[in-house]
Every structure is written in structure tokens, then in C-alpha cells.
């Protein structure tokens, strides 16, 4: 087991990373250690990333070793779906207190592991390291090793404290933990020539189940999905798969590449977002399986399924084409491959006015240019203010993005659709793309927008009335305003003392002469002497009397 620093370094020099591959030698040497900007950073930490990547393991107990913030502020916040156990939705944390920090948290961690086994007896426990135990030197690797031996159950350390880096790094550190401790530790009950792994697919909103029926129809078995709807045993025996598909390359490229290296499982990078991509992915899987010894006829059956599904999807999208024609969409997302969604949306008649390329590789950008033309508006980094302006000025009719920029669009009273991990609709495969088009149409054609953009009719009326009336009249309508205006009248101009101050002084201290007022306020009592005498002469205002 290498140190955490070595693992991080190893991840940054990942040869399978397309972004890394497209860099020059000098750039590559610098690594991916992009310094986060204090005061303008957004996004999760490495612990967040590791938890996201592994939380979809449904039958595992996820134990967070840290103070309450790490788990207490974040648990049960993702819409991954499970076909079986719901243990993954139970939050376990050591909730470290000050005493633990002084004396070390290892004992508490060990006790916590035992409590979980006593209560739930899960097939495995994942223990997540966080910043504070990392700082005080809690050795979770050692605790997990000891616990595994003592309880005869896999207790896996996920060494990914928040401050080592970004969410993406955390995804990969989680992958390293799987490679080191999980994958290849068990054997499947049986193996077939049709066994595949899906890597980097998290079954958000149950989207895996949008494509799983197609696999089943083709007789392809998803031996394991890392980690959507995953069961510990499936992933532990995933090294017997014949081929793998890397679904989100950004999250787990290291897992796919190292599994190829260690177990000879060939992989390809594909996507199920978009019709064309879904077809390509199915084709690739079939091809890889045939290359590894599956019967040739799989290819034909795959083509037949693709042809049928494509025809169905296009037929379902067809009615939307005239409705969506010429509507302008802005796509801001890093999670899914921008170009793959771009193609599908264009097919549905939408015009793309811009897409983000923050996480895209050079090849990705080339493909976007090909799809959207040379003048494609590729957005490296767009501030919320720019997004807002773009929508407010109606340069786009709808924005598709992640939850973080949701309110930028909604507050501009513009349609918006969630295409990132918090979304509540599934958009994968052929049915998913039809669903996406349906959702876009539902949003764009909602009569609500028109109502919202219209200002309240009485705004104009109020303005007209304001112009007609003098300020005096406006004050007369509001007793509080009138009182404030009355009290604000300047009495002493030399030292700017207002009527209210003088009245208060007279009232509080029961003053009867100009001299006394001078003593208790800043009023000079020279040129304003007469005015102060007038105030003294008039009785205290009613409001003050009542307040007594």
C-alpha cells in the first residue's frame, strides 16, 4: 500500500485520461493539481467525490469517520436508485467530538465498526477518511485491517480526506480503493461469455434501468456496475467480466484502465446519452464481446435491436420537431459529454446557442465544432452573471445545466432543465432521450412563463398615480411616513439637528428652556432659537405619550 500522496500523484499521471493525453509534455509534468481559488471556489471536496462514487453500493454500510459536518450536513442527498437493500441510505458517522480530537479517534472508529456489524451485518463496510482524523493522524488503514481480521468481514478504508483536492480526485481515490481492496477478492457463481462491467455509471434516478432491458434482450449480463445499484459481491467478482464500458470517463478512468492491465478486460469509452451514442455503445460492447469469444451472431442481433430502438425513438421525437424548431438552448454541463447531447437536441429541432467545454478534451471540442459549426459558442467558464444576462436578454430560450445554476435561469424567468446528478428524471438510452425532449417541450410550452414575464398591471397604474400626486399627498396617505417626515425637519441648520431629536430630548428630560435643550442636544440655539421656542411651546406628540 503506497502513501496517499503517492496515490494522488499516480492518479494525476493517468495515461488513460483523455484530458491528460491531449496535453503537451510540459503541461503534463505540471500535473492536474489546479489550485483552488479561495473566495471563488465552487464544488465539492475529495471526500465528497469519493462518497458520490461509492455511495450507490446499496448493501454496504458507509461509515464516515469525522466530525458531524461531513455526514450530518450531506447524507441522503442523492437520487441513486436501488433494486434491493436500502442500507446505503442509512448514514453512519463517528461524529467526532473534541475529546476524540485530543485523544485520537481510532478507538471510537473501531467501536463504531463493531456496532454496525452487530446491528446490520452488511457484506462490507466502507470507512471514509475526512480532514480532521487525517490531521490528527488516525490511521484508518490500520484500523480497517484490524477490524477486517477481528470481525471476519471486509472493512475497506477509503482514504480521501476533503482537503487533498477536488471532487473529481475523490472519485478516482474511491476507484483506487476498489482496485486495492474489493475487485478480484471474490469469484462469481458462474461466468458467461456475455459478462460485462459498466464503470462510472451511478444509476441516478434509476437511469441504468432504461438501458438494462436492452442488455437483457441481447443476452448480455451486467456482471457488475460500478457503482450504480451495485452489490458488494458483484463488484468483488467483477474481474471475471469479458469486456467493460467506461460510462463516465471523468470519474473512473483509472478503474477501467487498471482492470484492463490486471485482468485483461478490454474497455471502451461510451455514453448512453443521445440516440447515436446509445447505438454506438451497444455496437462496441457486442464487438468487444465477440472479440473475446462470444458467438458472432451477437453482432447481428445487436444491429436488429439498434435499428428497432432508433426507429422507435425517432418516431417518438418526430412530433416535437415542429414545436421545438428554432428554439435556442444553452447547455452548461460538465457531467455528460456535451457533444453527445448536442447532437440529440439538434435532431429534435433545437438550435444550440452555446455549450460548456470546461471538462471536455480537445477531441470533444473538435466534435462540437463539427456539430455546431465553426462559430460555435464554446464556453470555458461562464460566471453566473453572464448566464443571467444571456437568458434575460433572451439570447437563449432554455438552459440545461446542473442544479448550481438553476436559480440563475429561474430568477430570469426562463425555462431550465436539470441535466446533472440531482435531476429527478432519467435521460439514458433511447427512452431517456425521448424523455429529455419531452421535458424540454413541457418546459418551453408552459404557459406560465408568459404570465411571469408580464409585470403586475398595477405597477404602471402606481407610476401614473405617483406622477400625478405631489410628495405631500403621498405622505398624507401613510401616517408613519408623515410622522417620519415631520420629525426629520431640520431645526438647527448649523449643527443639523432635526425636530425629532429635540422633541425626544424635551420629552425625556422634561426640558423647558432653550438653554436646557442646548445642554441635551447638539442644537446651537443661535439662529434656531425661535424655532426651538416654538417646539417648546407645542405639546409633546401623541405617539410619545402613548408609549409611556
Amino acid at each position: 500500500m503506497s502513501s496517499l500522496a503517492a496515490t494522488v500523484k499516480d492518479i494525476f499521471s493517468e495515461p488513460g485520461c483523455a484530458k491528460n493525453g491531449s496535453k503537451s509534455e510540459a503541461e503534463r509534468k505540471k500535473g492536474c493539481t489546479k489550485q483552488l481559488q479561495p473566495g471563488s471556489a465552487a464544488g465539492g471536496c475529495a471526500f465528497d467525490g469519493a462518497k458520490i462514487a461509492l455511495q450507490p453500493f446499496t448493501d454496504v454500510a458507509h461509515l464516515v469517520h469525522g466530525p458531524i459536518a461531513c455526514e450530518g450536513n450531506s447524507w441522503d442527498n442523492r437520487g441513486a436508485a436501488s433494486s434491493g437493500s436500502s442500507l446505503w441510505r442509512t448514514a453512519f458517522t463517528t461524529d467526532m467530538s473534541e475529546t476524540d480530537i485530543v485523544f485520537g479517534g481510532e478507538k471510537r472508529l473501531c467501536k463504531a465498526i463493531k456496532e454496525i456489524i452487530d446491528k446490520h451485518d452488511p457484506p462490507a463496510i466502507f470507512v471514509y477518511q475526512t480532514c480532521i482524523p487525517a490531521m490528527i493522524g488516525d490511521d484508518i488503514n490500520a484500523v480497517c485491517k484490524a477490524a477486517s481480521q477481528r470481525f471476519g468481514k471486509p472493512v475497506i478504508p477509503i482514504n480521501s480526506p476533503g482537503f487533498v483536492g477536488s471532487k473529481n480526485l475523490g472519485n478516482k481515490l474511491a476507484g483506487e480503493a476498489l482496485l486495492d481492496y474489493v475487485i478480484g477478492t471474490q469469484e462469481p457463481d458462474y461466468a458467461t461469455p456475455y459478462d460485462v462491467n459498466l464503470i462510472g455509471e451511478f444509476n441516478l434516478s434509476g437511469e441504468l434501468w432504461q438501458v438494462k432491458p436492452l442488455f437483457e434482450e441481447l443476452g448480455i449480463r451486467i456482471l457488475s456496475c460500478i457503482s450504480g445499484d451495485a452489490k458488494y459481491r458483484e463488484v468483488a467478482s467483477s474481474h471475471r467480466a469479458r469486456a467493460a464500458m467506461l460510462v463516465c470517463s471523468k470519474a473512473m478512468v483509472n478503474v477501467a484502465r487498471k482492470m484492463e492491465e490486471r485482468y485483461g478486460i478490454p474497455f471502451f469509452e461510451g455514453s448512453f446519452y443521445g440516440i447515436q451514442d446509445s447505438s454506438d455503445s451497444l455496437r462496441q460492447i457486442a464487438r468487444l464481446l465477440v472479440e473475446r469469444g462470444a458467438p458472432q451472431e451477437l453482432l447481428e442481433r445487436t444491429e436488429a435491436v439498434i435499428a428497432r430502438e432508433e426507429a422507435r425513438a425517432w418516431a417518438a421525437i418526430e412530433p416535437y420537431k415542429p414545436r421545438l424548431k428554432g428554439k435556442k438552448a444553452l447547455l452548461i454541463t460538465g457531467g455528460v459529454k456535451s457533444w453527445s447531447v448536442v447532437a440529440a437536441l439538434q435532431e429534435a429541432g433545437l438550435e444550440m446557442v452555446g455549450t460548456s467545454v470546461k471538462k471536455s478534451t480537445r477531441q470533444d471540442k473538435e466534435r462540437i465544432k463539427l456539430l455546431m459549426g465553426q462559430d460555435a459558442h464554446m464556453i470555458e467558464d461562464m460566471t453566473p452573471r453572464e448566464m443571467y444576462r444571456m437568458l434575460k436578454d433572451a439570447k437563449a430560450d432554455i438552459m440545461l445545466s446542473g442544479g448550481k445554476s438553476q436559480f440563475v435561469a429561474l430568477k430570469a424567468a426562463m425555462p431550465w432543465l436539470d441535466v446533472n446528478q440531482e435531476r429527478c428524471h432519467a435521460y439514458m438510452g433511447y427512452v431517456g432521450m425521448v424523455k429529455l425532449v419531452e421535458e424540454i417541450d413541457k418546459s418551453l410550452s408552459n404557459p406560465m412563463w408568459e404570465q411571469l414575464r408580464r409585470p403586475a398591471p398595477w405597477e404602471a397604474l402606481a407610476k401614473a398615480m405617483m406622477q400625478m400626486q405631489s410628495p405631500v399627498a403621498a405622505i398624507a396617505h401613510d401616517p408613519a411616513l408623515a410622522e417620519a417626515a415631520r420629525r426629520a425637519r431640520k431645526i438647527c441648520f448649523c449643527n443639523t439637528v432635526d425636530l425629532g431629536t429635540i422633541e425626544d430630548a424635551i420629552y425625556t428630560h422634561d426640558l423647558r428652556s432653550v438653554e436646557a435643550v442646548r445642554d441635551h442636544t447638539n442644537a446651537v440655539g443661535g439662529c434656531c432659537r425661535r424655532r426651538i421656542e416654538d417646539v417648546l411651546a407645542s405639546s409633546p406628540p401623541a405617539g410619545l405619550q402613548a408609549a409611556e
Partner: protein
Amino acid sequence: MAIATVPTKACAVNPLKMSQPIGGAFAFMGLSGAMPLLHGSQGCTSFGLTLFVRHFKEAVPLQTTAMSEVATVLGGYENLEQAILNIYNRAKPKIIGICSTGVTETNGDDVDAYLKLIRDKHPQLAKLPLVYVSTPDFKGAFQDGWEKAVASIVELLVEGPNVNGLRDPSRVNVLPGCHLTPGDLDELRAILEDFGLRPSFLPDLAGSLDGHIPDDFIPTTIGGIGVAEIANMGGAGWTIAIGWQMRRAAEVMQARTGVPFRLFERLCGLGPNDEFMTFLSEISGRPVPSKYRRQRGQLTDAMLDAHFHIGGRKLAIAAEPDLLFDLSSMLHEMGAQVSAAVTTTQSAVTERIKTEEVLIGDLEDLEELARTKHCDLLITHSHGRQAAARLKIPFYRAGFPMFDRLGAGHQLSIGYRGTRDLIFDIANLVIADREENHQPTPDRWRPSAALPLVSGHRSAAERSTA
């Protein structure tokens, strides 16, 4: 009198508690043009931000000093300096509220000293208020963070009494606890204004997180109490503090400005509102407006109608101390039995909760207690949804976070009107539950040897069909 106990288990399961720093940051969100800043790793901010966004369904300003491993070893001065400068240049805030986290407390960053150095080095920040609160994650809970932040704001930003010590009796300061929603604050404002009083709320979440739509994009909070208004709070006639957690801020206010305060521990229920109205009538010199006489009548009528459904219910409730005290007391006064009570942190009100024992624990404890004590009404925040599904009992969501229902910011529980609606909501849940799950069957009252005659909340028939 309730005894507060702490369980001995090592592993918290399904936490009820959230951390102090985000409670502190929450307080700054009620200030106008504010940018709350957590001094810690960027995940600390990201988790808090997501939580607030899911609760309010609003854009929420919250920044981070993005402490890396190296920065943690070397000390966080540079990160804090850069963060403040970046925020100052980009978001142009009126105030920055800084909360420490577990990371920066463990490595011992002396933020007060850092701020002094930063101010010396960057004179352009001279007029920008920087309020710092020490809020380690490994101590206390959300409510404690709020309490400390508001006390610090009062300490730093409220000006001492003016030269002549004059106060405007028509002005009142309101220090609301973090258990009040923007909807509650709006209700309070309306009540105070109906008495001819002019309130200043600190913090004023109703100004920033009530869901209004600003005309332009604003990177900081989009409303709330302004720094100048806070400075002038010393000129008010009274301070009204709501919830025990606000005692400290009210005391600081009194010590700094001499403004007397009155603490209302509860504003939900008939008695507490009678007391509140009496006080307002006294300080304003006005009789209680007829609107509230009518609302009082409506509340008493609601209590009459609902006591059939709420009376005798066995309540399992988990919330932060002040909310727990408020809601459980109101339901106790309606005849419910507080059978299981779980809270997050120590508080003086805990011992006055109308139950035998209050556990400082988590939602697993609540679920277990609810099961063994046959509770038939569950109240806690949205994280109670899994427990409610397993227990199959009516579940009323209260407190923060409430991410799986809309309108969290407008849920009302104070005043005669708010109490009335809350009672209706809870009674309706109970009625719906009875209709869906507890319809009588021919065998319901048939004596059976296999099953006890009185079996808590679930009858024999339901068990056999469940």
C-alpha cells in the same frame, strides 16, 4: 422535569444534528449584501450550500477559503486573505461573515489576529465589516452556530448608546432564533406593525430567503437587514428575543446599548401568544387590534376541533432544542403525550420539556424509541422520512432541512394564526392516517388469544393485513 441524557454508542446513525459553521453562516444570510465565508476545506462549504439550496430552493451565497492539505499544515492566513480580497473585488459585499470549521480550529488558526493583519495590509478594506465567529464542527450544533454568530454581530456592529442616550419607543429590535422561518418573520413583522411598532430583525431571513425575485443578478444575499440599521439598533425602545438561544445576543445588546429585552421562549400556542400580545400592547400603549382578537377566537376554535385527533397521541419528536421545546409544549397543551424526544445540543429549555427524558442523539434513537413506545405521530426534519416509512406513522416535517417538500421557507408556526394552521395540518395528517391505515374491520375488536387486547397504536387487524 425532563432529564437530558447522552447515549453511549460510538457510531451516530442517521444524524439529526448539523454542524455549527453552517448555523453561523445561516445567520449571516439574514444580512443585506452579505457573503458568508467558511474558513475550511471547500467541501465544508459545498455540503452546506447544497443543504440550503435544497431547503429554500433559492440561490444561496456561501464561500470558502478552500483550505488544501498544504495550507492546513502551513496555516490558513494566506487563504483567508485571498478569499476576502477575492470576495471584496468580485461580489462587492457590504459585509463578510467568517465562520471557522473543524479543520482550521484543529490546526489552531488565530483568525482574529489574521483579520488584524489583513486590515493593516489592505487599507481598502477599512470600511468593510468583517465579523468572525469561532464555530468548530466537533462541538455544538447548528443552533449554537446561529446563536454565536448573532451575538458576534451585535457585539461588533451595534453602536453604543448615542450621546444623549435617546431611544425611540416605537422602534423594537427582534432577535429571532434559527427555528423561525422567513414566513414566521413576515408574520411577526405584520403583528408588530399592527401595534404601530417599527421592527428591526436581526437576522432578517425574510428579506433574503423568502423567494422574491430581484431585478438583476446579485452574488451576495439579496436582502436582509443592512449594516447601518444594525448599527442603529441601540436606539430602539425594546429588544424582543425569540427562543432561548437568543438570550445571549439580547444580553450583549443590553450591555452595549442599555436597550432592555424581553425573551419569549415560545411563540407557538395559545398561552405564549397571549403573553406576547399583552407585552406588545403594553409597550405600544395600544389595545390589541381587533384582527388578533378574531384570530385568538379562531385558534381556540381550532383547538376545540382538533383536540379529538391530537389528544392522546403519542408523539415522537426530534429537533433542535428551541423548536423541540416550542412544538412539543404546544402539542402537550393539546393533550398529546411527548413519548420520545431527541435533540442535538445542550440547552436550558431541555429540562422543561414535558417528558421524562430528552436524548441528545440521532434519528436512529428516535426511531427505536418511537417503536418501543408505540408512538403514533412523528415530527422531525426531512431526514426523518426513512424512519417514518418504516414506522408507518403520520409524519409532520418541521425544522431544517426540509428538502423533499416545497415551501419550507413559508411554513408558519407562530402567532395565533400560525398555531391555528399548524394544528390543522397535524390533525389532518392524523385523520388521513386513520382513513388510510386504520379502518375498522369485523375482527378489530374480536378478542384473540394470540394477540394482546391493547397493543399500542396498531390493532390486531392491521397487523395481520400489514
